[in-house]
């Protein structure tokens, strides 16, 4: 992805959370939004 592009992630538990964290680390200039429906993401 190029700098300034937008990544949207739906769900933030097992897969979405790690995807968001690593994507930000590898592509700091990409605009990342995580959307999840629950109040909390369980860590399991």
């Amino acid at each position: 992805m190029k700098n300034g592009e937008k990544l949207v992630i739906v769900g933030c538990s097992g897969s979405g959370g790690p995807a968001a964290m690593l994507a930000k680390k590898l592509m700091p200039e990409v605009d990342i939004t995580v959307i999840r429906k629950e109040e909390f993401f369980i860590v399991r």
Binding site: I9, V10, G11, G17, A20, M21, K25, T33, V34, I35
Partner: protein, 400 residues
């Protein structure tokens, strides 16, 4: 569920994501427009994307059993469910608890409840197959687990079907196929999960039998949409056939792989082996690859070996026994599965070595020379190192 950790302490904190510079929105995505590349949430906001990653997970299956809508019939997926179950048990002073399905979630929750409740519970587990943990263990290994759990007070009914949940407004029992009736203040159903694919279907993404179809880079049939975790269909590493593979390891790795793909890496996901673990009281079970039974179903002729070992050298106080079963493909002599039943936690993680050997295509002969890190306090004597001993036994069996 056990009350050993607070709800807050086991969730991914928004703060962690936000302090990394990630925006967090708490809402349900109700629509994806793949042409204009936008997602819409329930309260109406619209977010545009260049790339979308779907990680919508799975939901517990509620089988079409009569009585499933009675108060006190529950499933467990996330923290809110766990809290609901706990408060139901406390408010109703529930004593008789029936689990339907003896998979790892039922077995862990059942043992945690018995271990952590002050009052004595009457816990029954009903399983259609002939053993507990049927997706992880063969009967010979599961028998050891069943005997241990029965000693701890769990009642395990194998080869039994829950025909009907009975009660008047709220549950008071479960009728089994054999005609037996189990008293129940709470029924906990754990018979599997189904991928959450509503959004993917709405977008028109290609679907597989077990979820969204993705390639080895987590890309879906839409080049701007990737997906990972429980909502996607996995590929079994050994057979290369589609499989559900709904476990946390693949979910995390697929999420991170998708991030790498978006950053320009070409790393492929190797497929899954369904490696997993389960702790019940002081017994830990772990498994990877195929069981002997599953190997046969997949058309493999297998050669198996089961070895008893110990967590420490025999003279060290606190030594605990453990057992490993390895399954090899007779034709290629390659390792294709392993199961561990252990009275100490640490040996159960030796399953990761088994996974690594399967991924590396190791054969019986190669494993006969495997040497472990050895120390009186942390391992068996090298002569009792069970992976090597199991490989030697398999070698002998092939000669016969």
């Amino acid at each position: 569920m056990a009350g050993l950790a607070t709800g807050q302490s086991i969730v991914v904190a928004d703060k962690m994501l936000e302090s990394a510079g990630i925006k967090v929105v708490q809402d349900e995505v109700t629509k994806v427009d793949p042409v204009n590349k936008t997602v819409t949430v329930a309260e109406g906001r619209v977010f545009s994307y260049d790339k979308l990653f779907l990680a919508t997970g799975a939901s517990a299956i509620m089988p079409p059993i009569e009585g499933k809508d009675l108060a006190g019939v529950m499933t467990l997926r996330g923290l809110p469910d766990a809290e609901k179950i706990k408060s139901y048990i406390a408010e109703r002073n529930a004593v008789n608890i029936v689990f339907i399905g003896a998979g790892f979630i039922s077995m862990e929750v059942a043992s945690l409840l018995v271990e952590n409740m002050e009052r004595k519970l009457n816990v029954s587990i009903v399983e259609f197959m002939n053993r507990p943990l049927p997706l992880m263990l063969d009967k010979d290994m599961a028998d050891v687990v069943q005997a241990y759990l029965e000693e701890k007070g769990l009642k395990i009914f194998t080869g039994e079907k829950a025909e009907k949940i009975v009660g008047n407004g709220k549950v008071d029992g479960v009728l089994l196929g054999s005609g037996k009736k189990l008293d129940a203040d709470l029924v906990f159903i754990n018979v599997g999960a189904r991928a959450n694919v509503e959004l993917a279907e709405q977008i028109g993404l290609e679907m597989g039998r077990f979820g969204i179809k993705v390639n080895k880079y987590q890309e879906t049939s839409n080049p701007d949409i990737l997906a990972g975790g429980d909502c996607v269909e996995k590929i079994n590493f050994i057979t290369k056939k589609p499989t559900p593979g709904r476990l946390r390891g693949p979910a995390v790795m697929q999420g991170r792989l998708a991030a790498k793909r978006l950053a320009g890496y070409d790393i492929e996901f190797p497929g899954v082996l369904d490696a997993g673990g389960c702790k019940m009281f002081d017994m830990t079970v772990s498994a990877t690859g195929f069981s002997e039974e599953r190997a046969a179903e997949e058309g493999f002729q297998s050669v198996c070996a089961t070895v008893d070992s110990r967590s420490k050298h025999v003279m060290i106080p606190g030594m605990k026994p453990w057992k490993i079963k390895l399954i090899f493909d007779k034709k290629t002599r390659k390792l294709i599965g392993g199961q561990i039943v252990s009275h100490a936690v640490a040996p159960a993680k030796e399953i990761d070595a088994v996974t690594a050997f399967i991924l590396a295509g190791k054969t019986i002969e190669e494993l006969t020379t495997f040497t472990c890190a050895c120390n009186p306090d942390i391992s068996s004597e090298p002569s009792a190192e069970p992976i090597t001993v199991a490989a030697e036994q398999a070698l002998q069996k092939l000669k016969l």
